[in-house]
Amino acid sequence: MILDTLKKDFLLFYRNKTSILLPLLFFFLIVSIFPLVLGPDVNLLMKIMPGIIWIISILTTLLSSHNFFYDDLDSGILDLYLTSKVPLSSMFFSKIISCWVVTFVPLLIFLPIISIMYSLDAFVLMILLITLFVGTPTLIGIGLFGSLLIISLPRNNILLPIIILPFYIPVLVFAADSISIASSMHIISPQLYILVALLVLALAFLPYLMSLTLKITINN
């Protein structure tokens, strides 16, 4: 089941080959905007860079998840899911995965290259990568969950962020913590494990919650 849905989603994303590089470009652009605004002071940039990268990840998540289900709703595919026997939870699980892969995997691969421009310390970079790798799926999960919650409301681009940003805080805090600890005393902090725990929780329960939400919101 999961694999099949994945296949279809990827098909959609990669219909035009360029779209694989888009998240990267986007990331690059935003990253290069910060120095323009905050001034070229390298130490400052180096200091706040990991944080910035995390903020950008959140932004990316918001952008790619906030109208994720609208097409499926308008074309009646959500109804289709409800009337068919496909296990909704695993369907949503695969949606989370596909959305994550498409949005973040290219980024995680190329991040080391970008970080050269900010002369990041290798260890910090590693920790940053780990936190991103563990944290971003949670972000995507929450994002999609939120976009499903508000799907029956009048379209409003700002509503979703407001609903889900509070849920991003924990992930952010722990990620930021483990990074700052890493950069200060070069150790892998317990916060990292909490991030992993959050991830497990998200992937375990969010799909089920989403299937519930779907049943509730569509039945009217």
Partner: protein, 241 residues
Amino acid sequence: MNIKRFGNLKFFYNSFITLFSYLPILVLIGFIAGIYWSLFIAPIDYLQGHSYRIMFVHVPAAWMSLQTYVVMAVSAFIVLVWKVKIMEIISVQCAPLGALFTFIALITGMIWGKPTWGTYWVWDARLTSELILFFLYIGIMVLYASIQDKRQAVKVTSILSIVGLINIPIIHFSVEWWNTLHQGPTVTKFDKPSAHITMLLPLFYMFAMYQVYFILTIVKRIKLGIIERDSQSNWIKELSK
């Protein structure tokens, strides 16, 4: 107007293409000569030693990166206003070339930056804005690539590139506006160039070579463009048989 369009295409094809067909070899030779000149003949810089020699690649590339954009925007404007077919092809083909020049400028600049500034990259205005220019080119290319109907794609990208013209002066004057790490106008101050003539000559020679390369590739692309666009018009058919 249909007739007129393919008419001037045909004229263009017959006259220019044949004229340009033998140039590539010359350009290659020209570049080699230029490299030799700048690496071995040109005098050593008393401040930067040999590392400055990368200037002969960097500066022209940088200039071209800006010039190409201007060319693209102008031809785009002509496309939208007078609907000249040839210009469509030019405005489309400028983007990848410009991206190339920008890329060269970036890379050589970074290489040059290591000895002079001690780091590959600093976030000063010019460097960043050049980076942005690179993204500008990429964005235009992406847009063109992702629109299926190419006739429509040309027009849309033309509009975009015209709007983008606003960035060029910013890149150019960034060094004057913000006194940055990056070299101010050393060459382009024509009243009293602050670089020695023996360095300027090879620089301008390389610049000329870049120009020739630019024109040449554009023309080649136009040739291909004409063939694939008007492939159904009968004079191409005659040509092909």
